[in-house]
Structures are given as C-alpha cells and as structure tokens.
Amino acid sequence: MNIKFLEVENVVKQYAGHLALDGVSLTVPENSIYGLLGPNGAGKTTLIRIINCITAPDSGEVRLNGKRMTPADVQHIGYLPEERGLYKKMKVGDQALYLAQLKGMTKSDALKALKYWFEKFEIEAWWSKKVEELSKGMAQKVQFIITVLHEPKLLIFDEPFSGFDPVNTDLIKREILALRDKGATIIFSTHNMETVEDLCENISLVDKAKIVLQGNVAEIRASHATNTYVVRSQSPILGNEKIELLSQSTKNGMMESTIRKQISGGNNLLLNEIIKQTEILSFEELLPSMNDIFIKTVKA
C-alpha cells in the first residue's frame, strides 16, 4: 500500500480579485477514505477541480503515485461533482453508455459494467426511461453508477448523499466501503460530519483558502478531548476538587452524570476517585464530535 497515493503540494490558485487556494498541501494514502471539509467558499471545489485537471494551479503540483498528474490520468478518476445533472431528454441507458465511453471505456465493456450495476441496484426497468421521468434520488443513483463504472483508482465524491433517503444513503455508504475494500482510494468533500466520523480515516479542514486542521480522525478527536466523561452509577456522584460535576439526572433507575476531570494523569486515577463514592455501571470518555471541532476551528 502506498501511503503517498495522491499528493497535493503547495497549491496556489488565484482568481481575479480573490485567492481561492493559498499553499494547500495534503497527502492521501492509497486504499483509504479521505475527508475534505470546510465551510462554503473555502476552496474545496477549486481544489477538487485542480485534482481533476479541470483548472490548472498557479503554482504547486499534484502527484499521483509519485508522478505529476497529466490530463491523461483523469481517466483513472471518478468524479461526482456537487453540482451534478444529466441530459433530461436522454434515456438513462443511452446516457450512461455515452458518459462511460467519454471516460474511455469501449462500448461492450461499458454495457457489461452497466448491466452489473443496474442488476445490483435493481433498476433495470429504468434503462429506457428518460432522465426527466426519474426522481432526484433515482437520478443520483444513476450518477453514482456512472461515477464508479470505469473502476477508477481514485474516487472523488462531492456531497454524495445529498438527495438520498436514509435507506439509499445506507446503500451508497456500503457500496463506497466495498469499493475501498476492493482497492479504491476515496476523497469525500462534505459538510456532513456524521459521515466523516463514520467513514473517513483522515481529513483536511480547509478554511479561507488554507488548511487549518489535518490528520487522522481518531487522533484529532482525542487531541480535542475536554476531559469530560459520562458515568452511569447506582447512587449520585458528588463533586469535589478532583471531580467537577457538570450535570446529573436519573435515567431508568440509574444516575447519569457528566463530569470533568480536574486532576492530571490517566483515566484510572479518575475511576479510583469515583469508586470511592459509588458503584460504577458504565464509564465513557466524551470525545468532541467532528461537528464541534469543525465549528470551533472555523470560528477561531
């Protein structure tokens, strides 16, 4: 496995009047899911367009497997843009075939692959329907198939779950994980922090054209820990100089307390303090959600 599958190095992009990317660098390991986060207008789409060779950076470079990206490499990328659509008057099958051929597939390969995916998603009946007859969610499914059809090594999804109901979100999530297991590298651009916690191993948070936070999701969350814990116990916990009691309530005959550790040292030290007071039923460190970290970092 190549831990430097995709490298973006010091990319700068200036548009008339404003700086879209200011020295952005990131490294995506092969066979992983990478999250690209950031508020609207931070420069995510510009970065994705540069990776896709749609626009060229003013300086800096993008390398795929150690080699500088060329427009020919785009064949190995599957890109699902946030602003996506299909020709409304065209039939679903014809359109999928057309877009697959534009990605460099032969007609017979494309037909074979389409047959596989249409059967998998049980949508064979849509083949000769016009796109305008499909609902938004249905069209999104077709677009997902078109994106992954040519078995790209690198997949870039920009808000892939918008427009899907929970059942289909789950279906697409499972397919994305399956693609990763088969060897694809995946970049997610999203505002949906739950997805990030669920799926991404590493992230970059882009704000105002710069990367403000980068790294492994678990490590980031641990480093943003606020020494807060949720403890379920048989009797109430009393706050003291070592334990700060933030809240306490009774739930199903148990006491549920949120506490903050006021002593330095490991969790066992804190446990020792609580054991003195009551019988512990459960103990859990409360890690900040990616959502909190996102808001905190962007606002800072």
Binding site: R49, R84, Y87, L102
Partner: protein
C-alpha cells in the same frame, strides 16, 4: 471512437431524431410547393359574379364603346350624379359609376370612376383600355390618311429584352436578372435563417448543459473546448442535413410537378394569369416568357451556387455559433441570453438589409465591402453570386471569413472554459473581457 466524435454523434442524433426536426424538414418544401400551387390555382379561378357599372355619359359618344363582357355590364342612364350616388348607398345596386363630362379627345381628364369601395386594377384598366383605344382610333381617323390604322398596328412591337451571358467556351447562356435576384435573395435568406436558428440552438444547448448541471460531469472527462466544438460541429451537420433534404425534396417535387402539369398547360395557365391580372401591362409570362424562364433556370450554375452556399453557410455559422456558445456559457438561464445576444444579432440583421441593397447594385461598393466583412459576407455574397462575382473576390472573402471564424472560435473557447463553471453570478461585459485574458 474519439471523444469529440462521440459528442458530435450525440448532438447530431438527438436533434435529427426529434419529431420537430423531421416534421420541419419534410413539410417545408411541401408547404412551399403548396403555396405556389395555391397562388397558381387562385389565379386561375374566375370571379363569376357579374359587376354592374353605371355610366353617365353627358357627351353620348361612348355608348357603343363600352362593351359589356362576362364580368362587367355597363348600364347607361341619364340622371344627376349626386342622386345616383345617394341612391346606391342605400341599396348597393352597382359596383362603380363612370362619369364622362366631355369629349375625351379634347379633354383626356373628363372621365371619372366613382365607387364606394376602392375599385380593382382590373376594372380600371379594362375601362381605360377601351376608352384609350377608341380615342386613339378617333385621333388617327382625324388625319384622314387611308390605311393609317393598319400601318400603326403593324409598327407596334413589344420589346422583351433577352439577357444572354457568355459561357466560358463562348456558348451563350440565357440569363435573367430577375431570376438571379430571386435565387440570390432566397439563398441569402436561407443562410440568414440557418445562422440564426442553429446559432440559437448552440446557445440554448450550452445554457441547458449549464442549468442541468451536466457540464461539470462532462468536463471531468473531456476538455471544455472539445465539448464546445463537438456541439458546434454536431449542430452544423444537422443544418446541412436539413438543407440537403430540402434540395432533394424540392427536386423531387419540381420533377413531379412538371410531369403532372406538362409545359403546355403550365404556360397556358400562366398566360391566363397574365391576361387576368395585367391587361394593359405587357404580360410577363407569355409562352415565350415561360420558355425563357426555363432556359434561364438551366443557365444558372447550380453546382457553384450550392457548393458556395455550403461553404458560406459553414463559415458564417462557425463564426457566429462560437460566439453564441460563449454567451450561453456566460449566463445562468435562457432569459439572460437576450442582453448578450443583441450585439451578435445586429450584424446578422444588418447583413440581410445590406443583402437587399446589394441586390439592386450587385457590383457597387456597399455590396463589395459587405461581402468582404466576415460578419455580413455569408449573406451578402449569396445575393451577389448569381450575378457572377470575380473569382478573386470570392477567394478573398472566404479567406477573411475562415481566418475570422478561427479567431472567434479561439476567443469563444476562452470565455466558454471559464463561463461554464460559473454559477449564480451576474456577468458583465467587463467580466467577459477578463475571462478572455485568463
């Protein structure tokens, strides 16, 4: 298959398969032929309603001159004019009232035709013709020369100037200025129509790709320039298909029509039309006139005209289509296209007016310069072509046109590349200029 040919194929097939395209392609020549047939047929119908004309002849000289025929009956009465007029407005008994106050030999203005509605040309010329002839005879008789009338009749000739063009091998070709004018105007108008219709299709196609949000999916697989050129070329082929179908269908209809109405019947009808419509004006379409028309039709160089039509259509279309594509890329929806398409439509519209003026003087300076300026040359040159334009002018005009469309395509490509990825932004001319320099 290369990517651009895939795009061309899609643009072409989706349009050609449309019902509206098929309908328009097949119906236009039929409708056109139908319209001509209708005019011929309507011209052949006689108005069988008898029209009454009341004559008040103070001189009593013309009682035998004004002869009734199938259409007009003349009734002579001796009543005051005002009274007759008043009576008729109550019960509409006659179409017109002819009032003759004096001997027309001495006072040609002494006859007046009154009517409630405007009288038609036919009636006016019928009456004037009879009176003219009578007065003329009277005047000739006054000279007292025997056989004068026969001499005058014999000396009367009708000159129908035939125009002959020299062919290259010295062989004569029958030409016709009217025909050249007609062919020139028709081809110029078709070019104008094609540029406007298919240019607008390019523009709307681009806008639709943008509003459908398919464009970003597309350009992750193809270059923006390939996408733009694929669309432009695909639609050009749609236009050419339509034109060739029209040529073929018109040919079939023409052959069909000429076998149904063999030459004889045809000229007879035309002859009748001539007599019905314009009795005092020398009939244009006498049997010999029809023959000249056909000879002149044969004298035109169709291969050259059709060949150059295709070249000028493509040149003019490519020049404008890329500009239309650039505009389509810059706006967010079809209603916004108007403010930007206006400056592009102006030279096209100017071209068709310049063409109309050029037709009156095909070798004049306006015609020459407008057939060199690439924005008007496809239209104006088509008007001039049947009047035999020197080869160097055609070559020069085509070279300018080709260089210009390469230039506009290059410019449009730059605007298009930036424009298709811009959403939700009101674009100004200044902005477009900036995109050009990216």
């Amino acid at each position: 298959m290369s990517k651009i040919s895939l795009i061309i194929k899609r643009e072409y097939t989706t349009r050609v398969m449309k019902k509206s395209f098929i309908l328009l392609t097949f119906l236009t020549p039929v409708l056109f032929a139908g319209m001509i047939a209708l005019v011929v047929w309507l011209g052949g119908i006689k108005d069988d309603k008898v029209k009454n004309i009341v004559v008040i002849d103070k001189t009593h000289l013309y009682t035998n001159v004004l002869k009734s025929n199938d259409v007009y009956t003349f009734r002579f009465i001796d009543e005051p004019v005002e009274e007759v007029k008043k009576k008729n407005s109550d019960n509409n008994q006659f179409t017109a009232l002819l009032y003759i106050t004096d001997d027309l030999k001495n006072n040609p203005k002494a006859a007046t035709l009154y009517s409630e509605k405007q009288v038609n040309m036919e009636l006016k010329s019928y009456i004037a013709g009879m009176l003219n002839k009578y007065v003329e005879e009277q005047k000739l008789a006054a000279y007292n020369i025997p056989n004068l009338k026969e001499m005058v009749d014999k000396s009367r000739t009708e000159i129908d100037l035939e125009t002959i063009k020299w062919g290259e091998n010295g062989k004569d070709k029958v030409g016709s200025a009217e025909l050249a004018l007609t062919i020139g105007m028709i081809t110029a108008f078709i070019i104008y129509m094609f540029i406007v219709i298919y240019g607008a299709q390019v523009m709307n196609g681009v806008v639709q790709e943008k509003t459908n949000r398919i464009v970003e999916v597309m350009i992750s697989s193809v270059k923006p320039f390939e996408l733009m050129m694929g669309k432009i070329i695909g639609i050009a082929m749609v236009g050419l298909t339509q034109f060739l179908m029209w040529v073929i269908l018109t040919g079939i209809i023409a052959v069909g029509a000429s076998t149904i109405f063999s030459g004889n019947v045809d000229s007879n009808t035309l002859h009748q039309m001539g007599q019905m419509g314009m009795q005092t004006v020398p009939a244009n379409a006498t049997p010999s006139g029809v023959q000249t028309l056909f000879a002149a039709l044969n004298g035109l160089n169709y291969i050259e005209i059709i060949g150059l039509f295709i070249v000028y259509f493509l040149g003019g279309y490519l020049l404008y289509a890329s500009l239309f594509a650039a505009i389509g890329s810059a706006v967010d929806n079809e209603t916004d296209t108007q403010q930007f398409s206006m400056p592009i439509m102006l030279p096209i519209i100017f071209g068709i007016y310049a063409g109309i003026f050029a037709a009156q003087n095909p070798d004049g300076p306006l015609a020459f310069w407008c057939s060199m300026i690439p924005f008007t040359s496809p239209i104006v040159m088509m008007v001039r072509l049947p009047f035999d334009v020197p080869a160097w002018q055609i070559i020069l005009s085509l070279s300018i046109l080709i260089l210009s469309f390469i230039g506009t395509t290059w410019m449009a490509g730059k605007i298009y590349r930036t424009g298709i990825l811009m959403y939700g932004k009101k674009v100004s001319w200044k902005e477009l200029w900036k995109w050009l320099k990216y």
